[in-house]
């Protein structure tokens, strides 16, 4: 399996963003993750709800790129705190 298929539209966007804008695939994908979080903040959606989109994305990125392990790990710890607080003490 490959992380990125460059034949599709989004794959091409990510490929050329890496080549022309950021210079590294890690920065491009980190930008995508940050963009998702930014959109949630922009539309006043609580950051907890962004987990529906960000968690699967981060899991996939963590599986293929070691650089994302720390970011994804902090995200998982944050989700664990939310789960512990809201589902057991509400």
């Amino acid at each position: 399996m490959v992380l990125l298929n460059t034949t599709g539209v989004l794959g091409t966007v990510i490929q050329y963003a890496t080549l022309d804008l950021t210079g590294s695939l890690f920065l491009t994908l980190l930008g995508v993750v940050m963009l998702l979080l930014l959109l949630c903040l922009l539309f006043r959606i609580p950051v907890e709800f962004s987990a529906i989109l960000v968690l699967p994305l981060l899991l996939g990125l963590m599986a293929y790129m070691t650089e994302f392990v720390a970011i994804g790990g902090v995200f998982l710890i944050y989700l664990g705190v939310i789960v512990g607080k809201n589902f057991f003490f509400k």
């Binding site: 392990v69 790990g73 902090v74 998982l76 710890i77 705190v81």
Partner: protein, 162 residues
């Protein structure tokens, strides 16, 4: 997190101090939930990329490993999880007078299950180190947690719940 915002003189105040680290059971639930989320994340990453997925969480030594009987099954006999400790003083080599204190302390820790709660102390530092953050950062956050939780455990032994 925290409770519903309360209107105080036109401003909104989040009364989160009510239950952020309110008592020991909160700390236990939070650490268990973090363990579970990290475990599920590791399982998800391994399922996506079984060949070369990075390993950032190991179940060994965490609180979850107490409840695993191999191949992710919960124990069929729950009474093995209950504490059944006993402590003794060696009359030949030990100093009877001081060893009685440590034996009593160990007996109280084992029989009441408080040693299980002591596993909570080092948990966050282990998480942060395992996912590859700098050790100084992990130590700083871990010592913060250590101090607060140790206070909660002492308060719990003395009979206060917060």
């Amino acid at each position: 997190m925290g409770g519903a915002p309360v209107l105080v003189r036109g401003g909104s105040v989040n009364n989160c101090e009510d239950y952020i680290m309110g008592n020991l059971s909160t700390a236990l639930v939070v650490v268990l939930a973090i363990n579970v989320m990290l475990f599920m994340g590791q399982a998800g990453a391994m399922a996506l990329n079984p060949d070369s997925s990075p390993v950032f969480y190991s179940e060994d030594g965490s609180l979850l490993s107490n409840f695993d009987e191999g191949n992710y099954t919960t124990p069929s006999d729950p009474k093995t999880l209950l504490p059944s400790g006993e402590a003794s003083v060696n009359p030949e080599t030990g100093n009877i007078f001081t060893d009685i204190f440590s034996a009593t302390k160990n007996w109280i820790l084992e029989t009441t299950g408080l040693s299980y709660l002591l596993d909570l102390l080092g948990a966050p530092a282990n998480f942060l180190k395992a996912i590859g953050l700098p050790s100084a950062f992990a130590w700083a956050i871990g010592s913060l947690w250590y101090g607060i939780t140790l206070f909660l455990i002492v308060a719990f032994i003395l009979g206060r719940d917060t």
